[in-house]
């Protein structure tokens, strides 16, 4: 079986992290975002993954070389020379996706994090016998998204309504598809949208079915949702009683600590924290709802909440970092500094407090 991951472009919404690393390689819960998807695909027997990408394919392939061998999965890139929307990349990768098997293939959006119930999706796809399956997820505020109107018992999709003003349903496109190769015949090689141009036609022929995604779903393409997504992801690890979660008297709630990270005396960590490899958390530190990337040092008595600390950064003694502060790579926050929502570009030194959310160039 094959799969296409829509990686896309610069990942500007996740800057300043994506100034250092392509978005799919930004760690989420101590693992590059794209590996969450590749591992899920591997687990259900996918043998080849195509990355639809329009930016830095070499960096991606270099990075993924190790994983190709380790996971025994083939990873290739299909590079767009111009943005082709959400459907165009499928046409571009047509030759890589089609083989003699005639099996359906997966399409995943790289910004999305969920439990990836791909096995159930294959069964669902086989059971309805249509041409395409899409995963949908229930949301509280459907008016912000494209709503999928479907027949509740069979899952047959009736239509798509973009940002509805009146309530038409609360299920939205979760960005996970399972498509028969014939779908590729419906897509031209030009910038085009799968939600607006391809799926409505399949739906009109009553060959498009939607499955409600069990468990959590989050688009983690921007920092606030990244932090929320970590909470949902760790919650699901907890439900599965994952041995990866840290425990101890200094831990509150769900926390991931890489085994190479060092935690000092008198710290209080959690809930919803991920501490990456090689990090040093000195004594008396408080961490909650945050991600601490590889190689970071958090000095004594610092307090960090609702923030992302980029690779190899340092946070000074008695510093306070909170409220969606995003530190890029190699940022150094001085002792006793307060950052309230500071978004700091890579390689900066912060010597005076940031009292209100602002961007430090």
């Amino acid at each position: 079986m094959k799969a296409l991951i829509l990686v896309g472009g610069f990942g500007t919404r996740l800057r300043p992290l994506t100034l250092s690393v392509p978005k799919p390689l930004v760690e989420f819960a101590n693992k590059p975002m794209i590996l969450h998807q590749i591992e899920a695909l591997k687990a259900i027997g996918v043998t080849e993954v195509v990355l639809a990408i329009n930016y830095q394919p070499e960096v991606m392939l270099n990075f993924l070389k190790d994983f190709e061998a380790k996971l025994e999965i083939k990873i290739t890139c299909s590079q767009e020379t111009e943005p082709l929307g959400t459907a165009g990349p499928l046409a571009l990768a047509r030759d890589k996706l089609i083989d003699d098997s005639g099996e359906p293939f997966f399409v995943l959006n790289s910004d999305v994090i969920s439990e990836y119930p791909l096995k159930e999706m294959i069964e669902f796809h086989k059971s309805h016998g249509g041409e395409a399956s899409i995963m949908v997820t229930k949301v509280d505020e459907p008016s912000k998204y494209g709503v999928v109107v479907m027949e509740e018992t069979t899952g047959q999709v009736e239509r798509f309504v973009e940002k509805p003003k009146l309530f038409v349903g609360n299920k939205i496109n979760a960005g996970i598809y399972l498509l028969n190769p014939s779908v590729l015949d419906r897509i031209e090689l030009r910038p085009t949208s799968i939600e607006k141009e391809v799926f409505p036609k399949i739906a009109a022929e009553k060959k498009l079915y939607a499955m409600v995604l069990p468990g959590f779903w989050m688009d983690i393409g921007q920092p606030r949702d990244y932090i929320t997504g970590l909470r949902l992801y760790l919650d699901s690890l907890r439900k599965k009683s994952s041995p990866k979660l840290a425990c101890g008297t200094h831990i509150i709630g769900n926390v991931l600590v890489d085994e190479s990270a060092k935690i000092g005396e008198g710290c209080l960590i959690g809930p919803d924290v991920a501490i990456g490899p090689g990090c040093v958390v000195e004594s008396g530190v408080r961490l909650s709802r945050c991600t601490v990337m590889r190689g970071v040092r958090i000095k004594k008595h610092a307090c960090i909440s609702s923030s992302i600390i980029g690779w190899h950064s340092t946070v000074g003694q008695w510093a306070r970092v909170e409220n969606m502060t995003i530190l890029g790579e190699d940022v150094h926050v001085g002792d006793e500094i307060y950052s309230n929502g500071g978004v700091v570009l890579p390689h900066k030194e912060i010597k005076s407090s940031i009292l209100k959310p602002e961007i430090v160039m």
Partner: protein, 413 residues
């Protein structure tokens, strides 16, 4: 050679509760003059300075606070400094000169040759013996302590012109609208007893005016006047007497500030702590203790306070009685009042923490440290609780409040 017995008394004007409103929320239960700067009541600094005057026989605190509010302090300071200190309560405000005049009999009881008059809200090094020497050299009724300030800030004070050679006071204007001079009145004076007859003359003039007022009222003419026994030193005495070879000036080049706001008390605390290095080094914590907290710069810690060895304190920190500072706490540029508890890893910067307040673990009480802006220093009133991890920035919190969410640039009623 004739030997005249010289005797000096000092009068410190401490004001009353109505004046103390500017010091809210710290003046609800403590008179502003007793608010601690560098660990000592504000008024203690001028009193200690008076102690250095040769032949000082008595210090009077004059104000319209209740006597009981000062009773304890007055008795302890009298013992400590071995100088009689008395509190004299006015029935109502009389103005700075009026207050002096109102208690003239008590002040003159011991027939002093010189009378110092000091405002309690002044923070300076009080070069009182030097002033007295200068005064004796100049002659006249009195000598004012003056200082040069920036031309922009001078209009908040009494601006004056002095003769550069003779130091005579040539002209005096209180808080002028247009620039007069960058030399200002520090609110510290030395007078001979003749000052009483000068004030009396103003009184008599006033009584005439009251009579005039009455006549005009009978004639149905409007006429605004102050009560006859309210005499201000600046407008009513210094202005008219300037240029008459009666008043002289003594210029200080050391520090001087007026303590008009709670925020200024942090700056003044720093100035007094720095002065302690020369006058009272025993009051400063020396950072060489092995099992003590790390200390940076000038720090005062009351002997009854408990500070954990892993805490880092300073510069400019004053910690009052029975304060408990837990492990990993960071204190900088702040005043921590009696009975406060500061829990593990909390941070306090540019702030005043009111009596009996409690700061939770990893809480943060901070401000930008701009003494001149309204919320430039964070102030927690008495018995304020800041819960774990809560951040309080550039805010004023009135007494008995519990903060469980972070606040910034707010006044919490």
């Amino acid at each position: 050679m004739e030997i005249t017995e010289e005797k000096v008394v000092a009068v410190i004007l401490v004001g009353g509760p109505t004046k103390g409103t500017r010091f809210r929320p710290l003046s609800f239960n403590t008179p502003e003059p007793l608010f601690p700067l560098a660990g000592q009541p504000m008024v203690h600094h001028p009193i200690s300075a008076c102690k250095r005057i040769p032949n000082l026989v008595q210090v009077f605190l004059v104000g319209f606070y209740e006597e009981r509010e000062f009773a304890l302090y007055v008795s302890s300071v009298s013992n400590e400094l071995r100088v009689p200190v008395r509190y004299l309560k006015e029935d109502k405000p009389h103005g700075s000169a009026g207050s002096l005049y109102y208690f003239r009999d008590k002040i003159m009881e011991e027939s002093p040759t010189h009378i110092f008059l000091l405002n309690f809200d002044v923070c300076c090094n009080f070069p009182l013996p030097n002033m007295l020497e200068a005064h004796k050299m100049h002659g006249g009724i009195g000598t004012l302590l003056v200082i040069k300030v920036s031309a922009e800030s001078a209009n908040q004070f009494g601006e004056l012109v002095a003769d550069p050679i003779t130091k005579e006071l040539l002209h005096y204007t209180e808080k002028p609208e247009t620039f007069v001079s960058d030399l200002i009145n520090c609110g510290v004076y030395v007078f001979t007893p003749k000052i009483f007859s000068v004030i009396q003359e103003v009184f008599l003039l006033r009584e005439d005016r009251v009579l005039l007022h009455l006549i005009m009222w009978l004639l149905d003419l409007s006429f605004r006047s102050l009560p006859s026994d309210f005499v201000r030193l600046d407008q009513d005495i210094l202005s008219p007497l300037a240029g008459k070879k009666q008043l002289y000036t003594y210029e200080t080049t050391d520090f001087w500030e007026q303590i008009k706001t709670p925020g200024m008390s942090i700056k003044c605390s720093a100035l007094y702590l720095a002065q302690f290095r020369f006058t009272s080094p025993h009051l400063l914590v020396n950072g060489d203790g092995k099992r003590k907290a790390t200390v940076v710069g000038d720090v005062y810690i009351h002997p009854s306070a408990k500070v954990h060895p892993t805490a880092k304190i300073g510069p400019n920190v004053s910690i009052s009685a029975n304060v408990r500072v837990a492990a990993g706490v960071r204190l900088m540029n702040c005043i921590v009042l009696d009975d406060v508890e500061i829990k593990e890893n909390a941070v306090v910067m540019h702030a005043i923490v009111g009596w009996k307040s409690s700061l939770g673990r990893w809480s943060r009480v901070q401000a930008d440290g701009d003494y001149n802006s309204k919320l430039g220093i964070t102030i927690l009133g008495e018995s304020v609780t800041v819960e774990d991890e809560v951040v309080v920035i550039n805010s004023i919190v009135l007494p008995n409040k519990m903060l469980n969410v972070s606040v910034q640039e707010e006044i919490i009623l």
